[in-house]
């Protein structure tokens, strides 16, 4: 059993992250609010095309010479990297295994051993429903949280939660691997909302369109200082009826989005979801009474760029 995480540990984590400063050269050279988009359609999806798209997006997002260089700049070989999936909606609207496996393989090639690459989600049931098999895989370990939370709650602004020990203790770096979809209360459930899955009591924090709760979760040191990469599987997207899978509300977006900014990919996703809603004569998220206003709150906290007008979109 891992030791209990104390407030002192949290303070140390925050301090170390501050001392570490910006990411090393390739990532640091890239604008914080850059979102790289690579084209990837469901029809063309294979392990090879998934890998190619991810490599291109990583390069474009970071400005690195190669995907390997980008990942080496973001993660040390001594890191234990947790890749948090958003699998609530099952196979129809979860990150595709081909993309997740491509990321794990690239991390391995960047110097991380298999034991240090952990793909995780709340439960084994959710992982299986999305096409992932818990256990040792070729290039990663697939691990459900399965109620393994810190014994005491940790407070961040308006939230007080026990964090999954995978996020608080086991992993030294985190990746959000989400999707592009609508959310009935939060507005969208893409990369940031994915982090609700690492706390024991997300149901307590959906009032007010999740604002400021989601922003408060993002500024917790476990998220703010550990998340290095945000990836959205936008091969298929969903503009309405989320967070559950609603086939009639999906459309072939055909994009893979990558950003090192904690918020920018979500800001982009908000725009594409709204555009599709307008195309279908649905009210925008704001008009529907659920704008993702937590993006602005999180930006005010200095966590990244949540204002879509400040996000730079680059095509990979």
């Amino acid at each position: 059993m891992s030791p209990r995480v104390t407030r002192r540990d949290l303070a140390r984590l925050a301090g170390l992250a501050a001392l570490a400063g910006p990411l090393s050269p390739p990532a640091a050279a890239a604008p914080r609010a850059r979102v790289a988009l690579a084209t990837l359609t469901a029809e063309s999806l294979t392990p090879a095309t998934a890998r190619t798209a991810l490599e291109k997006a990583l390069v474009a997002a970071t400005g690195a010479a190669s995907a390997g260089a980008a990942l080496r700049a973001l993660f040390k070989s001594t890191d234990t990297v947790g890749i948090k999936l958003n699998c609530l909606a099952g196979r129809g609207m979860s990150p595709r295994p081909e993309l997740v496996e491509a990321l794990a393989a690239l991390l391995g090639e960047a110097g991380l051993s298999r034991d240090r690459i952990i793909v995780f989600e709340r439960s084994a049931r959710e992982l299986r429903r999305a096409g992932f098999t818990p256990g040792e895989r070729d290039s990663y370990r697939c691990v459900p949280i399965d109620n393994d939370y810190d014994p005491e709650p940790s407070t961040s602004g308006s939230i007080g939660s026990c964090f999954a020990r995978l996020a608080s203790t086991t992993c030294t770096a985190l990746v959000s691997f989400g999707v592009v979809k609508d959310h009935d209360l939060a507005g969208i459930s893409c990369g940031a909302k994915n982090w609700y899955g690492i706390i024991h009591n997300p149901n307590k924090y959906h009032d007010g369109n999740c604002d400021p709760y989601l922003a408060d979760l993002l500024r917790h040191p476990y998220v703010r200082h550990k998340v290095r990469l945000n990836i959205l599987d936008g091969v298929t997207a969903q503009c309405h009826g989320g967070p559950a899978y609603r086939p009639d509300a999906t459309w072939p977006l055909g994009q893979l989005a990558v950003s090192t900014d904690l918020l920018a990919a979500d800001a982009w996703a908000w725009q594409v979801i709204d555009a599709e809603r307008v195309r279908r004569r649905l009210p925008t998220l704001a008009a529907a009474g659920r704008p993702p206003r937590w993006l602005a709150t999180a930006q005010q906290y200095g966590l990244g760029t949540g204002d879509p007008t400040q996000v730079e979109i680059v095509r990979a």
């Binding site: 909606a89 439960s123 049931r125 109620n147 009935d184 209360l185 009591n201 307590k204 959906h206 009826g241």
Partner: protein, 371 residues
Amino acid sequence: MMRRREFLPAAVAALLAGVPRGSAAQRPRPPDRHLEGREASWYRKLPDRRVECQLCPRACQVADQERGGCGVRENRGGVYYTLVHSLPCTVHLDPIEKKPFFHVLPGERALSWATAGCNVECKFCQNWEISQFRPEQVASFGATPEELARQARAAGARLLSATYTEPVVFWEYVRDAARAARFLGVRTTVVSNGYISEQPLKEVLPHLAAVKVDLKSFRESFYREVVRGELKPVLRTLEIVRASGVWLEIVVLLIPTLNDSEAEIRDLARWVRANLGPEVPLHFTRFHPTYRLTNLPPTPVATLERAHAITRAEGLDFVYLGNLPGHPAAHTLCPGCGERLIERAGFTVRENRLRRGACPTCSRPIPGLWS
């Protein structure tokens, strides 16, 4: 020395101790399992497979595959389910004084049970390790309403008590257990935050013998900032319970600097007297730092005694102090002549001098459920 009449409950209690009980303090990791659930009784369907819960004033609008704020009710394809019916995470045999009920069958025991979940989030929750978790996150076990009632009967308990977490979130289970218990001659009590909508409250009240409401404060700001609830619906609950004839007691946990001002306590006392009557027992209990309120000290005894003095001076007949073992304000005194009627030591009734529910000295009737 244990008397014969105490033996049976103790023996059954020992048996019950063998029942698996959930507590996140030990934080057992229950196996990943699908909770079957059963359709909830109080909700309405909305377009797009959404539902609106009508159980408590939060009125959560819940999308497909999501849960309400309580964490124990889930929308599955537009049908709302309670996931905790017949799924208690804890069952204990407690003295009724522990609830605390001081005017309900003194000295009797209550088979007390709870499921995971709560519809508010008190920063000072004493049972947060089960109330603030989802049912799949704590160890639970199956017990139908009939089984609970039979367990109570077998344990010699005259009471069943829904308590520990928040009975509102397992309200269907409370209703069904109360029905089953009544059939076996066991009465049901509820220990609740009172944050419930009128319709489900009124539907279940006829099955209950007594309700204790944890009134968190007499200020909306406290409810908003510390509880994440609302005061007004709780006051309405108090009025409804009182008007129904179901026995009512109120508990206020006094927290230093947050809800212990003289003005607030005086406002509370006046409201109780004016709207519920002076005979409703009011308990002030001592706060101990826990959960998200660990930066405050335990409530000073003097603060509790001041609250006692204020509320007595405002005309409330039965004011008690709790979590203060040995304090004389745990005894029941006759409001007429001052005679000590029920003497308590902790949760134990040392002496009960009531005669047919009245003071033996001045014959004044003392309100409560005494037989």
